[in-house]
Amino acid sequence: MPIEFEDTSDTLRTIRIAGRLDLVGTDEIATKFAALSTVHDRRVVVDLTGVSFLASIGIRSIITNAKALQQRGGRMVLFVGSNESVAKTLETTGIDSLIPLFSDQAAAVAAASA
């Protein structure tokens, strides 16, 4: 399953995505990712540690869902762990300045919950 979620509290949700977020992979998770992200007033950590490839279409999906969540009073942060290639793609495109990006899971949870 390339996308799954866990609600660790009433206000905090973790969405884990795995595999290639290219044209095919992003389309496969798009509906579920949007549904999991469009929750009212919830904080969401998107765990990208299992993503092996991140194309611009995958970043578009992240931005779209982060905006939708923000418009509902929520907040999204990204957790990449030691996934250097995904972190580099997000930093190169400047997404880390729009959506907080963390390599440390505890820091990601803390930032989402703040």
């Binding site: 970043i59 578009r60 931005i63 793609t89």
Partner: protein, 154 residues
Amino acid sequence: MQLGAHDMLNTAALDIRAAVSDVRVASEWMAGFAAAQNVPPEQINRLDLCLNEALANVISYGNEAALTQPVLLRMHVRCEHGACEAAVTVSDAGMAFDMAHAPIAERPHSLAEAEPGGLGLLMIRSFSDALTYQRSNSRNELTFCVRWNGQAAA
């Protein structure tokens, strides 16, 4: 580039459809050929990002000619005295569009003002070491290249 006795040039070619389902075919072809030529994984990932963005542009914005005629892929890996490069050329029959010089949209300062899209140009230019475009025989020919120090396969 003039090759000497100890230099290697290896080439490959593939024709695909301008279809989402063929993008992974292209990625697997590129990665397989590159790995066989000892291209480092980090460089393969950079080529894969560029290849995906180039093909996504053809599929998303191409006209009827772009979508109905094959997309031609050519690749070479070349090492000369330890200086290596791998380059992929994507040739499509769509209307002229120069990804190497088209203007890149200004990046937003906040999530609220961010509009999805426009990242493909930024990514292909950021992850390639050289990017060239030419219009030839009514086709777009975009070539992206990555470089590293090492050796190609014999």
